[in-house]
Amino acid sequence: MWRWLGEAAAVAGKELRAEFRTRVALNSLGLFALTTLVAVAYSVGPFRIAAEDRPFLLSVLLWIVLLFAALAGLDRSFVKEEESHTAPLLRLSASPLVVWAGKLAYNLVLLYLLMVLLVPLFALLMGFEVVLVGWFVLLLTVGGYALAVTATIVAAIISRAMTRGALYSVLSLPLLLPLVIFLIQGTAAVSDGSVDTVQSSVRAVVSLGGVMTVVSAFVFPVVWND
């Protein structure tokens, strides 16, 4: 187990080292999120939404920004391996599950980094008030994981296809839609203080994340080796 974790950490470490040198995915994620956020803040702002509609509408806007920023950058790790012809040596050197776990860890770091930067900025610019802070952090944590695990397996699938760009969105959106609906429900509930709704949303998000983890662990070796 420790050996397996060490190998996966090597893959994640390699990805992070290369990313912090080139900043391709970080720039894609960050610039997309920032541009969208500024556009939303400029056109809608904190005061153009009625007080009773704010928890739900601001939650929708937050997750739209996070979702599309994630779609803009999380496919890079696999696509780049194929485009730069490094995938064959990786295939011959590491077990498929090690590669999957390492890439997932890397995508998680990117997504959590994005959340740490974007969510406070969103709350500040849009006047998004959080009543249940602890639940909100938990929701972002499990939501980020579920988003990353889904984005990672879809990225692996599309990296083997010829028409990558369009396919990523086409495959990701149906898989991510139920997840985003629960995340929006939960986020609206942390804003209006409804603990029961947050709890059920967190349970649903954890379940979806768990299902995607199991499915990915079975599907990835086939996708990666085929």
Binding site: G6, E7, K14, R21, S84, T86, P88, A94
Partner: protein
């Protein structure tokens, strides 16, 4: 001495859609032997090499990787036994030479990673450039790094596709000695080449028609 793995392939063929790359290719190579795959451009030498190392599935035919006891090597174990150098396989250009080797050593769960990486870099003559990112390497230096990557885990089987390409004369001399030493150490070597001097290394060969 290396473990000693025998590769047998029978009636192997590969086609991509309507294009037949080759068909009916058979051969075998054992520990301590060097098999050369030869043939004109486009005859499928590199394709056959990737099929034999398990990266690509053949359209037809049978390939067996046998351990000294004659048992088939399981796929999960096979990865640990092979080292590959091929033009179609790249190393990470954002990383330095040492970081590349460290990465491959760690995903292969090797011990004494630092010592082994430095030793391999030294052997291929890249020790002075160990902290240079691969993006700044010449094609010959990249080729040397690929060779270092292939020797890192002291594999029982070496698949070498035009290993001398882009190497200077001293690099080619070193490569010839290294391949012969690998065979002397009971390793199995499969070499795809059109270089006359490299062809002479082979103990036997398979010629693809094209």
């Amino acid at each position: 001495m290396a473990v000693g793995i025998r590769i047998e392939f029978h009636d192997v063929g590969k086609r991509y859609d309507e294009r037949v790359v080759f068909r009916g290719v058979s051969g075998e190579v054992g520990p301590g032997e060097i098999l050369t795959l030869t043939g004109p451009n486009g005859s499928g030498k590199s394709t056959l090499l990737t099929i034999l190392c398990g990266l690509v599935r053949p359209t037809r035919g049978q390939i067996r990787h046998l351990d000294p006891g004659g048992a088939e090597v399981v796929r999960a174990e096979w990865r640990r036994h092979l080292g590959v150098v091929a033009p179609s396989m790249s190393v990470y250009e954002e990383l330095t030479a040492l970081e590349n080797l460290r990465f491959f050593a760690r995903v292969r769960a090797l011990e004494d990673v630092e010592d082994r990486c430095r030793e391999c870099l030294d052997q291929v003559g890249l020790e002075p450039a160990r902290t240079t990112t691969v993006r700044g390497f010449s094609t010959g230096m990249v080729q040397r790094l690929k060779i270092a990557q292939a020797m890192l885990h002291q594999p029982a089987v070496l698949f070498l596709d035009e290993p001398g390409s882009n190497l200077d004369p001293s690099g080619q001399d070193w490569l010839a000695g290294w391949v012969r030493a690998a065979a002397d150490d009971n390793r199995t070597v499969v070499l795809a080449t059109n270089d006359r001097s490299e062809m002479e290394w082979g103990s036997h060969s398979v010629a693809l028609a094209g």
